[in-house]
């Protein structure tokens, strides 16, 4: 699936987007965050505080428990500050 990163999540990882292939055991957004934390120092820094991360699946907000199987695009970002 395609992963997209925004704001300080993007800056800490050093990538705006990439293709990811988590193992089958990664079923939810929470699992995916835990998996990302183990992908290296930059990912560990970006995902250190899971509570500060928001996620979207196919451009819709989702909670940490949302299953990721059916999605083609996942996005991670801080709480929104637009408007």
């Amino acid at each position: 699936m395609k992963a997209r990163y925004f704001a300080w999540v993007r800056e800490r990882i050093g990538l705006a987007e990439e293709d990811i292939a988590p193992p089958a055991s990664v079923k939810t957004i929470a699992d995916l965050i835990a998996w990302q934390q183990r992908r290296g120092e930059n990912y560990a820094a970006a995902f250190a505080n899971a509570g500060a991360i928001r996620a979207a699946l196919d451009r819709q907000h989702v909670k940490a428990g949302a299953p990721i199987a059916a999605a083609s695009e996942v996005a991670f970002f801080p709480p929104m500050t637009g408007g």
Binding site: F6, R10, R59, F77, P79, T81, G82, G83
Partner: protein, 157 residues
């Protein structure tokens, strides 16, 4: 129902945008909200707004549809900018038109509360002293503001 929803980098002319809605004589109340870049006591040069454009358009469409479901509106306008926005410039424009003022005010405030907390935009501050920008933190006030709409009426959002 007139609906204009747009994400753009260039500045907008609020009065031209509202005139372009072409409101009819059934409209008795027009409310506009313009969000402007404050200079933070003279320290801020600009805000850089990062967006997730495809999701922003989808999310603004969902929020607008929810506003239309809740209130009898003649028009909704939402324009949100991304990119570098100098202090004093406008960031966002929301306009709502209805027969009566209560509905237009409520819908405009609802749209802004949802845009603040749900539309995928992030602000980075650029200081006048040239120091590296810091990301603007989300406000608990904004979460509280959006929560009141959930308690008052059920929502599909």
């Amino acid at each position: 129902m007139r609906r204009v929803l747009r994400v753009q980098t260039k500045a907008f002319d609020a009065s031209a945008e509202i005139a372009a809605l072409g409101l009819g004589a059934e409209t008795g109340a027009l409310v506009t909200f313009t969000g402007l870049c404050r200079d933070d006591g003279g320290t801020l040069a600009a805000l850089e707004i990062e967006g997730y454009p495809e999701m922003a358009e989808a999310e603004i469409g969902r929020v607008a549809a929810e506003a239309e479901r809740r209130w009898p509106l003649d028009a909704i306008l939402v324009i949100h900018r991304t990119g570098m926005i100098a202090a004093g410039e406008a960031i966002v424009l929301v306009a709502t038109a209805s027969a009566h003022r209560g509905e237009a005010f409520d819908a405009a405030e609802f749209l802004m509360d949802y845009l603040k907390t749900r539309a995928p935009f992030w602000k980075k501050a650029h200081r006048r002293d040239g120091s590296a920008g810091d990301w603007v933190a989300a406000k608990e006030d904004d979460e509280a503001a959006v929560a009141r709409w959930v308690s008052s009426k059920p929502t599909a959002l």
